[in-house]
């Protein structure tokens, strides 16, 4: 196992069989990969590609048909390694008859944490995931996003070195998703290693250092996100404090032609919808009573128009 690798798989293979031992499906084929200490590692792939199977193999929920998986240098089936792991499943599979405090206390006890430490840690985490006001409500009263938050809290109850997140932003609104991504980045800052698998590629791109892409149980791509995404055939130029005029366009085309290239597009860049949404929500919070309505300002000026304007709520 390489020195700074937390997780390593060698020809990891999983074949699902029926009761009689007959082969039903090969979920994972000879996966070789490693996850290094302190990085955020993304597992990507379409449905049925083997992402969740890989995670379950690493957690000892499944046993490999062939090959090996090591976590912290120990076989994945070893229970002791779980002392240093936090796991958030895709759905937050928690007991819904418990409230947030009881949930964290229960999982804290599973880590054999003493009572005082459990209490302190639970309070910290409840505040961290923003459920302080709802800590006495049972989980069956929680929304999906809230359950995802308490799920994350239980994954962090033991202050783990390795956090495994299966679809962490699933069910979260854009605010929640951003919060989750920030938290994942914070974990990296704290020196934790994170493995996440997600269908939301923009999330993975945002936070992951390295990724592995699986398809039909086989590893298709593996490496640093930046390296994998770089398009060496294209050049991107960004500028500010410029007016977009025909003259500028002509001159740029000329310069590019001189260097053997050609101009594909020129125009104002757009922000992401997520950034835009978050800005609107933030502004709404900053100015209570205002609403974002299409054409509100234009109507006030007696004009038509489709751009968003801020209107005073009457």
């Amino acid at each position: 196992m390489p020195q700074n690798a937390i997780v390593e798989t060698r020809k990891l293979t999983k074949v699902y069989r029926d009761f009689w031992g007959r082969q039903k499906k090969t979920a994972l084929r000879a996966l070789n990969m490693e996850v290094r200490q302190g990085e955020i590692f993304g597992l990507l792939g379409p449905n049925g590609s083997g992402k969740t199977t890989t995670i379950k193999l690493l957690l000892g929920l499944l046993y490999p048909t062939d090959g090996e998986a090591f976590v912290f240098g120990q076989p994945a089936a070893d229970v002791v390694k779980n002392e240093r792991i936090g796991y958030l499943p895709e759905e937050s599979y928690l007991y819904r008859f418990l409230n947030a405090e009881e949930t964290l206390d229960f999982y804290g006890r599973l880590f054999d944490l003493p009572s005082a430490k459990r209490r302190t840690r639970a309070q910290e985490l409840i505040e961290k995931v923003g459920l302080k006001a709802d800590r006495k409500r049972t989980l069956r009263e929680y929304s999906k996003g809230m359950r995802q938050r308490i799920g994350l809290a239980q994954a962090l109850i033991n202050d783990p070195d390795l956090v495994i997140l299966d679809e962490p932003t699933s069910g979260l609104d854009p605010l929640g998703a951003r919060w989750m991504k920030d938290l994942i980045r914070d974990l990296r800052t704290l020196g934790k290693t994170v493995i996440m698998c997600s269908h939301r590629l923009e999330d993975v791109q945002d936070v992951c250092d390295r990724i592995a892409i699986l398809n039909d149980g086989e590893l298709q791509a593996y490496g640093e996100v930046q390296t994998l995404l770089q398009d060496h055939r294209r050049v991107e130029l960004r500028a500010s404090d410029l007016q977009l005029t025909d003259e500028l366009r002509r001159e740029l085309e000329e310069v590019l032609r001189k260097h053997g290239g050609k101009l594909d597009t020129i125009g104002h860049p757009t922000t992401t919808l997520e950034d835009y949404f978050l800005r609107i929500v933030e502004e709404s919070k900053a100015h209570p009573g205002r609403r974002f309505l299409p054409g509100a300002e234009s109507r006030q000026r007696g004009e038509g128009g489709s751009t968003s304007r801020i209107a005073e709520k009457r």
């Binding site: 929920l61 499944l62 779980n82």
Partner: protein, 716 residues
């Protein structure tokens, strides 16, 4: 196992009919314990343990072979090497020992039929070889199991137990128990007033309802918990923590057990209040008690068989019958021998002997009169030649109208001294003087001052006490016995003081005489009547009825009865939890319920497995069907008989293996003790607890391996 009480004709309420074998009205004899088999004693423990090693070990060896065939062969080399070499060696050696044992066992059977021509000669060795083979199987399976125990942590088990507890409460499972309120509200409608039945009926109904409610709730909770965790994937969140799989099993088991224990305690307490408040004063005085009986060994004299009396043709042969002697016949006796009698009884004025017999009348008899019986109580000091002396003395002293002058006292003491000196076990001079002086002190205790000559008052009971102490003999010549009613004789404490003395050497011999014997015979007045009795129909009351405290003893006994129910709850919870580690919730529940129900019919299944059931096994039944033969007629010799019997040998073997899996649930049913007012001995509870542990242990070990080897996230 407690027997099904004898069923007699009589009214049965709808509840009683619903209760099936535990009917309440007209079923039970009054305050009599009946036992199909003797309660377990300490000396039975080694044999039980040997049997357990053979049974559990056999299944363990079978399990180990299955593991080798199904699992180990599929195990990858790198996984195999993770098992320590010493463990692999131990496993191999112990399994080989087990195989060798079973081969030896079958070899011995073959040799006993072919070479030795005497199958009985190898019986002793067969048991030892089977035990050795079983022990091999237990080691093979037990060592990996024991290796899995050190990582267990109480905090984690406690957390999982608490979770189970909370889950049941918050999912409102406990609402089901409110059904008991129905009994509290309406139960008395179905309970007849007759005082002698009242406590029994109250106790019967309460325990019947509690048993059903609690067992159903326990089996459902335990069977569905782990499968639901796996189905809803909450198990994923738990098993990705440093939790040993066995902790999950234990946590679930302990959690549900704790919950059911609390519910049981609460229900028992409420029920106790209901019973105590519900029964009438008369019934309470009659039945709210917990007798502490000392049973003896029963033998018969002059009936042709020491183990049996006369057969009067009743189907249920639990009791044997004696009758008065016809002219030229020796009188028949039922004799109870009490080998050891607690010395504390010697300190009482009287010791109560209770009994309840069955009357079988050949003639109508006298109106309002029972059957007359003679009761003789004698110690190991007593020799039959003393009987005349006893009768003479008794007649003589009883005619004194309780007034004794000094001359009488001196005569009595001289006679006493002479008798002691003539005994084979003559006391030393010092002891003799002490005995005589002690007697003098007792005889002259109640002095009546009269001018010139002092006199002393001695009551009839004091005279009987002195004579019983002197001779080791006491007799009640004619006691009317009523059918199935508990009656008693207060025997003078002097008899027990006599029993404490050194036994007569000639009589002590090898094995010795019993400390006390009770001889019952039917008097000539009832010459045409038969009196039926069994070992447990007559006993000494070790508790002192004169001391009171019956209500407290009944209360304690009521909780002891609940302990029997608690054991059954543990049984179903353990069984269902262990099964649910592999099977789905519904299947676990059905299998656990079937095994538990099988326990109720264990006697019949045993009779099939041992080939004692009428009509034989399925092959024999098939032959009988084809030939249209009833079960009671033996099959005719021939090929069909040989084939039928041969086929049934295999079937019986299979049934006996199934029998290994079936719990002996009836042994935990202590209701009869409570209802009949008999104390449940603590040793009984301890043996039952031990039996439960031994039964559940293999299931728990099975659950351990099944859950440990299970891929929690595997698609189902």
């Amino acid at each position: 196992m407690l027997a099904s009480p004898q069923r007699e004709q009589g009214y049965r309420s709808p509840l009683a009919r619903a209760a099936g074998r535990q009917g309440f009205v007209g079923y039970f004899m009054f305050a009599v314990m009946t036992f199909d088999r003797d309660p377990m004693r300490l000396q039975d423990v080694p044999a039980e343990l040997f049997l357990w090693v053979q049974t559990a070990g056999g299944w363990a060896a079978f399990g180990a072979v299955m593991w080798l065939a199904v699992y180990y062969t599929r195990l990858r080399e790198e996984d195999r090497t993770r098992i320590p070499a010493w463990q692999r060696t131990l496993f191999t050696v112990s399994l080989l020992v087990s195989f060798a044992g079973y081969l030896g066992y079958f070899g011995l059977i073959a040799a006993s039929y072919t070479i030795l021509k005497n199958p009985a000669s190898v019986e002793k060795y067969k048991s030892w070889i089977l035990t050795l083979a079983g022990a091999g199987g237990l080691v093979a399976v037990g060592v990996p199991f024991l290796r899995g125990l050190p990582p267990l942590r109480l905090r984690r088990i406690g957390a999982l137990a608490k979770l189970s507890f909370k889950e049941a409460i918050r999912k409102k499972v406990l609402y089901a128990f409110s059904a008991l309120l129905l009994v509290f509200l309406f139960g008395s409608w179905f309970i007849p007033y007759k005082p002698e039945y009242q406590v029994r009926n109250y106790v019967g109904i309460i325990y019947w309802v509690m048993t059903k409610l609690l067992l159903i709730a326990a089996i459902v909770l335990a069977a569905f918990s782990i499968p639901t965790d796996i189905r809803q994937q909450t198990m994923h969140t738990i098993t990705t923590k440093p939790v040993e799989r066995f902790e999950i099993l234990l946590g679930r088991f302990l959690g549900f057990t704790a919950l059911m224990t609390l519910v049981l305690l609460l229900m028992t307490s409420l029920s106790l209040v209901y019973v105590v408040r519900g029964v009438d004063k008369e019934a309470a005085e009659e039945s709210l008690k917990a007798r502490d009986p000392q049973y003896g060994e029963l033998r018969f004299e002059n009936t042709g068989d020491a183990q049996k009396g006369t057969n009067i043709g009743r189907e249920w042969d639990y009791r044997s019958y004696i009758t008065a002697a016809n002219p030229n016949q020796e009188p028949q006796f039922a004799v109870w021998s009490f080998r050891n009698v607690p010395s504390a009884l010697a300190e009482r004025d009287t010791v109560r002997c209770e009994f309840a017999f069955d009357i079988f009348r050949q003639t109508k008899g006298f109106e309002n009169r029972g059957v007359s019986c003679t009761f003789e109580f004698q110690t190991a000091q007593f020799v039959s030649s003393d009987k005349d002396g006893y009768n003479t003395d008794r007649s003589r002293w009883m005619t004194k109208s309780n007034l004794f002058v000094q001359k009488d006292i001196d005569e009595w003491l001289n006679g006493y001294r002479t008798r002691l000196e003539s005994k084979a076990n003559r006391p030393s001079e010092g002891e003799l003087n002490a005995l005589v002086e002690a007697k003098r002190a007792r005889l002259t205790k109640n002095k009546l001052e009269a001018v010139g000559s002092p006199s002393y008052r001695l009551s009839d009971s004091a005279i009987d006490d002195e004579l019983a102490e002197e001779y080791g003999y006491y007799v009640v010549p004619a006691k009317d016995i009523t059918d199935y009613h508990t009656m008693f004789i207060d025997v003078p404490g002097g008899l027990f003081r006599n029993a404490q003395r050194k036994p007569i050497p000639s009589a002590a011999g090898s094995g010795g005489r019993a400390a006390i014997e009770t001889r019952v015979s039917v008097t000539k007045q009832s010459v045409t009547q038969y009196v039926g009795m069994a070992k447990y129909d007559l006993y000494w009351r070790l508790d002192d009825p004169a001391r009171g405290g019956d209500a407290a003893a009944f209360t304690l006994n009521f909780y002891k009865g609940a302990f029997g129910l608690w054991l059954r709850l543990c049984l179903v919870i353990g069984l269902a939890t262990a099964l649910s580690t592999y099977l789905s919730g519904v299947i676990s529940m059905i299998v656990a319920a079937l095994l538990f129900s099988g326990g109720g019919a264990i006697g019949y299944i045993q009779s099939i497995g041992q080939g004692t059931a009428a009509g034989g096994g399925p092959m024999e039944a098939l032959v009988r069907l084809a030939n249209r033969q009833i079960a009671l007629i033996p099959l005719e010799d021939g090929t069909s008989k040989t084939l039928a019997e041969g086929g049934d040998i295999g079937f019986r073997w299979l049934i006996r293996r199934v029998l290994d899996l079936i719990p002996d649930v009836d042994r935990y049913d202590l209701t009869t003790y409570v209802g009949e007012g008999f104390n449940i001995p603590l040793t009984h509870l301890a043996f039952d607890l031990g039996a439960l542990v031994l039964y559940l242990l293999p299931w728990i070990v099975l659950g351990y391996f099944l859950l440990k080897g299970r891929e929690i996230a595997a698609p189902t």
